[in-house]
Symmetry: none
Subunit: 243 residues, 4 copies
């Protein structure tokens, strides 16, 4: 706690005092263009990994970066996304999962949670669509491979759930909202985005602007272009037509 | 979106590549000591304002930094806090509200939200304890003063709600969990913490260690010691014994 | 009632007695290939309009041919579709709306139902995604045009909701399930199916077999090829990328 | 699917084109006199077995032809029946079960469904009244006999549940609504209706008009008068006064 309190002072001296104008501007309102939905996991820092400034990301965080289907729950998820889309006019939504996710590990051994963590158990029942899909489609996987697929598929499930929300359903029809599925790899610092045409997660490139010289660089060893092995990508997304 | 994607690259080159070891360590597990519950508002960046490193804060974010009482809702809040306390052994919880909060503005004009933002409306009904307390105890206030009090009181309401959760109720009895109420001022970069003995929000000081010389410095003009005026502090928290 | 009872006898003499074998076979089990979800409306007869034999369609019927998102309700919808997909191995789902739908009329004047028909009111709240989309995207329409669009959009909403069900989410990933959106026009006897590539409702043609000479016939005056006018089709489905 | 699409054309040419007037009339509204609640089972075709014309039956269909008690669920059942009684002024309700019902089979082995079909499991919990009654009153039965009793008793349970709905409760007091329990035998094409005075299911006869000569005919071998054996009928319905 002391550390945090020291941190508050450090923030004031080191950052705030040199970004005065930005904060003065922000004091009266926010204009984020992106709704970032990610896990509560301490290793995920949205502003850090996207190098976004204060005021750019409206953030929802919970265990497993989940947004249950419209009407299934009455927690903070629906209200926050409705506020983001309706009141703030946000036009990009990113659901970002991450490697080594505790919630997804829990999803793969659900029964064991029931007694010790009943709220986590109940919450993970909201991810039944992910659990079932993985169980029926990836029965040959295990260990880390299985966890990675679960993390990846779970983000896609949440994208599907997002579509059932009235404000999102309507705004997509207007062509004014895009949904993006990301997975953040903690050990490599890479982020992969799901490409709906190729049906696989790849290192993201901008779809709207000519590629930046920076973005033309070939993937470096520590930062691979595709997250899952070719066999996995092939076996897994073959025939997928939902996203 | 392109900006964010550029940002991902910048993160990799500028931060990740120079913090390799930290991320390698984190790849296999997290050991945060603090559960930070704050608003989805884009102007709040938990790691930034506490100068915390990746891996230090387990974060829940929703509209209005709210945690409804145990059993009232089935969204992600309960599961995330249960996981934090039970699985991660976290012993500090901070609920952090902030100035100019959209959710609290909404709370003060609830009826107007019903048609346009029904999910936000329903979610804010969870903050009825705050709304009613403010209505009945601060009827003379208006404008920004009223909003500030609502933000401040709302954080205290959430602290009270947190106590109703089984894992928290039990751990507090063991003397192993502390709950903290903070309010972050966007325009000054200051954070105020509720002091239960003095019944008011003050600039935070460490309760457990001898004060650091740094923390003995008097508050500078831009960083006042107390957030609310003496009259407000007095009138408002007189006799309050809930916290 | 007498009429119905006479009808039972007529069925036995006229139909049953001449289809003995079929019913003997069916007595021990069913093997429908299609799940047909349509309105309770008395003017819709699934087996009649598809000329399907007994045993071919597994049918769910409720007011407004609605399937709320997974987890939103605990009525018969989820169980019936789960049984259809999981136990019966059904691989085609058709959601069929119809012209002059009373539930959709109710959706367009929701407040008026609250007192007289509270259950209908509550049920139609499940169609909020349809209501909102229509309100925000088709504000220039009124009367029958507005009702027709609402009926059409509502079927698409239900398709989206269907995807959130675990058994459906998983089976689609396996490439073994197709979802179809139909609208039945009572006054012309025509059925239009939504074509995801063209983003509009058209007279259905088989996608998998070479066209039957019968299906090559040009649409006759009483049976138009496209249900909505070209202007409507254009304005309405422009930019739609969800289905 | 192709078959169905062909069927759509056949319907238009064979039936619609020769029943123009009927459909023109129906295009503007429906006036069904009967609410028919039956199973989603593909082998049940309400209009076929009652020889009813399009427009005569308002139909609700789900797994097990169930209507949970008022307030127990928020699916489509309540809304559809409320609309039928309140908006359409329907005065006859028929709940029609059928032989070899999969839902009732499931009810007799509930635990086995939990993992594979959780939604069916949850839905069948709504039929606990049937399950318990059968377990405690028919413990000597097994196999097909047990299934038949369960099907029969389940329909009676639903009749009881129907009475708990406000619109039905009220209309029955006005003497303007009758509830009927039917069971349809797929292998014989017979339908049996519960006779409250005799406490057994018998071949239905009109209660309101002098019997039609047709209805005076003795039951033929393939179409028995009573569905259950005399011993069953006696043992089972003795003293039953609920209906």
């Amino acid at each position: 706690m002391e550390k945090l309190i020291k941190g508050l002072r450090q923030f004031q001296s080191n950052y705030f005092d040199t970004h005065h104008e930005l904060f003065e501007q922000l004091a009266h309102g926010q204009k984020p263009r992106v709704l970032f939905i990610t896990c509560s996991d301490s290793r995920v820092d949205p502003n850090l990994i996207t190098n976004a400034k204060v005021g750019e990301l409206f953030v929802i965080r919970n265990a497993g970066n989940m947004i249950p289907p419209y009407g299934a729950t009455n927690g903070g998820e629906g209200a926050a996304l409705e506020y983001a889309v309706q009141a703030l006019g946000i036009d990009q939504i990113i659901v970002c999962g991450h490697s080594n996710c505790g919630a997804m590990k829990g999803l793969l051994k659900l029964d064991k949670l029931r007694e010790e963590m009943p709220l986590v158990y109940d919450w993970l029942l909201q991810a039944e669509a992910t659990r079932r899909l993985v169980k029926e489609n990836y029965s040959t996987l295990s260990g880390e491979e299985l966890l990675n697929i679960t993390i990846a598929e779970n983000v896609l499930t949440q994208i599907e759930n997002l579509r059932t929300y009235p404000v999102i359903h309507s705004k997509i029809r207007q062509g004014k909202l895009s949904l993006n599925a990301w997975v953040y790899q903690i050990d490599t610092g890479s982020v992969f985005a799901y490409d709906a045409t190729r049906h696989e997660y790849v290192a993201p490139a901008s779809p709207l602007q000519p590629l930046d010289p920076e973005e033309l660089l070939p993937p470096s060893p520590g930062h691979p272009a595709s997250w899952l092995s070719p066999e996995q990508a092939d076996r897994i997304y073959r025939g997928s037509s939902t996203y």
